[in-house]
């Protein structure tokens, strides 16, 4: 280990910081400075167990999804060990609870990397959590699987965002629902990065398909009373309401619009799939809500997978097995395949193996890593809840490739190092 505290400076390219700031929308000087640090964390440790680091929200505001993701991690590790581990070595799950707190994410990410010396980190639910630890990941040149739906755009050598992004969810989705219901769209979205960016994506594809966004409202995260919003929507009388609300406070919207008697088809990228609102709210609050997901418990039978039963074999009390539960499971398995392919857990080698294109048969069908962007090519299912909150599968989009980052933003990680989050 490095003992002088400064570490041996890596062969950091002599890029002027000014240049970097100009080219990078987000990360700016921080990364320029940080990239000079190398604490030799990346040294191979080809002995002992393979340590899978897990960091998520087992308690706190986001625990509805956090406990699902933790169960998926437990299951994946258990199954890997039953199959003889990774590279013949035992797989060990080193899990920490970030308690839905960004500071805890930073502390625990450092602990897992520097003290527990994990081989890979599977972490985070919110984008804020991800951004909080990304400087630490980059600084330590770790491998970070962000197995979660998000607003898209992260192009970072050390990050593998395996969940759904707007390429998956919005691009095929908007034309499908607009064909069904009409071209006039109203959007309500949580007033932060995820909501604003996803709303921008929706707008782009509504307009690209000849529709019109007749209203857009951004709602602070701590608002839980929607009566003015409900009236505004009714005044505008849209054909489709895009709902990009997030968190427990905002989820009160459904019951409120239901009791106000508002009936309009809704579309979303997050609801039901993550925090099973259709199970938690009495019908018909979410009836006619359309969503695109990579997996949902109700789809298991049609997909012919026993994934929900297997998850419950390690977490019997789990209330729901949703899209992020499946993504977490797939993410950990894809890492395992990467390490097997590399023949080592040495990080650069594993990253290169992952970038060579790894495919895994997950609960939601085949998932493979897109080398250029580290995102995944995966099947997407468009479903909706009926008036009894039963989930109905409407359409399957197979092997959707997220290519906006590579095609429009020039993200090509194997050949062009980057650590930026791009925006549409």
């Amino acid at each position: 280990m490095d003992t002088n505290g400064f570490g041996q400076s890596a062969v950091a390219a002599k890029v002027s910081r000014r240049q970097l700031v100009k080219t990078s929308a987000l990360t700016a000087g921080a990364m320029a400075l940080a990239s000079k640090i190398d604490v030799n964390y990346a040294l191979a440790q080809d002995e002992g167990p393979v340590k899978i680091g897990w960091l998520g929200d087992r308690t706190g505001d986001f625990s509805l999804v956090g406990v699902q993701k933790y169960a998926a991690a437990e299951l994946a590790v258990k199954e890997l060990n039953e199959k003889g581990g990774i590279l013949g070595r035992e797989v060990q799950l080193v899990a920490e609870d970030a308690q839905s707190d960004n500071r805890r994410y930073q502390e625990m990410a450092r602990k897992l990397l520097l003290q527990d010396k994990i081989d890979v980190l599977h972490a985070c639910f919110t984008s804020a959590g991800r951004e909080a630890i990304r400087p630490i990941i980059d600084q330590n040149k770790a491998i970070f699987f962000y197995n979660n739906q998000y607003e898209g755009g992260v192009c970072d050598n050390y990050v593998f965002p395996t969940g759904c992004v707007p390429d998956h969810q919005v691009v095929p989705f908007m034309p499908a629902v607009m064909d069904k219901f009409g071209k006039r769209v109203y959007t309500i979205a949580a007033d932060y990065n995820f909501g604003q960016l996803t709303a921008a994506w929706c707008k782009k594809f509504v307009e690209a398909n000849g529709g019109e966004v007749i209203g857009e409202e951004f709602i602070p995260l701590d608002v839980s009373q929607f009566s003015t919003t409900i009236t505004n929507i009714q005044n505008a009388a849209p054909d489709i309401l895009i709902v990009l609300l997030v968190g427990i406070k905002q989820s009160s919207f459904y019951e409120q619009k239901n009791s106000a008697g508002m009936q309009v088809p809704m579309a979303t990228t997050v609801n039901m799939g993550q925090a099973y609102e259709h199970k938690r709210f009495p019908a018909p609050a979410l009836s006619n809500m359309y969503v695109t997901v990579n997996f949902m418990e109700e789809l298991a039978e049609g997909l012919g997978t026993d994934f929900p039963e297997r998850v419950r074999s390690v977490a019997p009390d789990l209330e729901y097995v949703g899209m992020e539960c499946a993504a977490e499971y797939e993410g950990i398995n894809m890492y395992a395949l990467g390490a097997e392919k590399a023949g080592t857990t040495e990080k650069d080698a594993v990253r290169k193996a992952l970038e060579s294109g790894i495919s895994f048969e997950g609960p939601g069908g085949t998932v493979s890593i897109d080398p250029a962007t580290h995102h995944t090519v995966r099947n997407i299912y468009m479903v909706h809840a009926d008036e009894n909150h039963n989930i109905v599968l409407d359409e399957t989009f197979e092997a959707v490739r997220p290519d906006w980052l590579s095609a429009d933003m020039g993200c090509d990680l194997p050949n062009k190092p980057d650590n930026t989050q791009y925006e549409p």
Partner: protein, 349 residues
């Protein structure tokens, strides 16, 4: 009034032991331990700031995290725009100054407006929430200051404090942080021992009477509020530099209340107790989060409750007093907060 006959008190001994421990610790731990301790040092400045404003001047503020956030953000905005390692230190000064100015304005607004006691707590809480709500929605590209994207709820990337081309890292980072913490601690202790400091203690007991002694009470309240704002902002700068990141949740409700609990448990009237207890409790809360995540917050809540109920002067201060009385034979103890306040006695029927 503190007796100043001898420096040999439990409080001073505890400080020396604490200092020795903090100097030796980084040579006895791994990389994570070093960085983690530096992080604790950064957050402990927030506890010192609160101990100064609440313990010494009797003003309970939930706004220290707002100044913390202002410090962190302003540091980030400055250093992203004005590059160069020397500039990171100017950025540190900019962050501190910004926290101090906002605190001074708010303090003037409150204290010259006759806002006192519990309403100060509520006003500062409202400020904290306004800032958090505002920062959370600054996600769009229109919220850019020069080169710095505020980036809303997801938080902002921030350059690290550096010497030359080298960002502070590992042990050097730790010792810089420790030196700042100890420096601020000594400065605040010295200030508390001046006439001005005694004036603060007096105004905490009785504002009108302090005024009649010739102190300008309102001005002093604004001064100490601004000073605590500077310290809180410094804490925010060091935190932001440590993680290369700051986000609006640093200004949330939980963030605002946590240091209050740390200081209450340790003993708000003693800077030493606040500093030591903040360090210990940060570690404890981290350990609990690792070992018993579901029960961590319950246990922590219970600890805080027990402290408030049964050791109202604070666990650490109680310990100091015990040692002073039984081992050092310092009669009444030299820490304020030992003698029960009068209203407690009258309240017992």
């Amino acid at each position: 009034m503190p007796r100043r006959t001898s420096w040999l008190s439990a409080e001073n001994i505890a400080f020396v032991i604490f200092l020795i421990f903090m100097i030796v610790y980084p040579f006895r731990t791994d990389d994570f331990g070093i960085l983690n301790a530096a992080y604790f040092a950064a957050l402990t400045l927030l506890a010192l700031s609160l101990s100064m404003i609440w313990g010494k001047a009797g003003i309970l503020s939930f706004g220290q995290t707002a100044f913390f956030g202002i410090g962190g953000y302003l540091y980030g905005i400055y250093t992203l725009n004005v590059l160069g390692s020397a500039q990171t230190w100017v950025g540190l000064a900019v962050g501190m100054l910004a926290g101090g100015i906002v605190a001074a304005i708010l303090g003037w607004f409150m204290f010259y407006g006759g806002v006192n006691d519990v309403f100060v707590g509520l006003t500062t809480l409202a400020l904290t929430l306004v800032l958090q709500t505002f920062m959370a929605q600054t996600a769009g590209p229109e919220w850019t200051v020069g080169e710095a994207r505020l980036n809303g709820y997801n938080g902002m990337y921030i350059p690290q404090l550096s010497f030359g081309e080298m960002p502070l890292y590992g042990r050097p980072l730790y010792f810089v942080y420790l030196a700042i913490l100890i420096g601020v601690y000594l400065l605040l202790r010295w200030l508390s021992s001046t006439r001005w400091g005694y004036g603060l203690l007096a105004l905490q007991e009785n504002r009108p009477r302090t005024e009649s002694f010739g102190y300008n009470v309102r001005l002093m309240q604004v001064q100490v509020f601004a000073l605590a704002g500077v310290v809180a902002a410094l804490s925010g700068v060091l935190y932001a530099s440590w993680g290369g990141y700051i986000d609006p949740s640093s200004m949330g409700l939980t963030a605002a209340i946590t240091p209050v609990i740390y200081v209450a448990i340790g003993g708000r009237r003693s800077l030493t107790a606040s500093m030591i207890s903040s360090m210990i409790l940060l570690k404890l809360s981290q350990l609990l989060a690792s070992s018993a995540p579901e029960y961590a917050l319950v246990i922590f809540g219970l600890l805080a409750l027990l402290a408030v109920l049964f050791v109202p002067e604070g666990f650490v201060v109680a310990l100091f007093n015990l040692i002073d009385r039984h081992l050092l034979n310092r009669g009444g103890g030299n820490l304020p907060g030992m003698t029960a306040p009068v209203e407690e006695v009258t309240a017992n029927g």
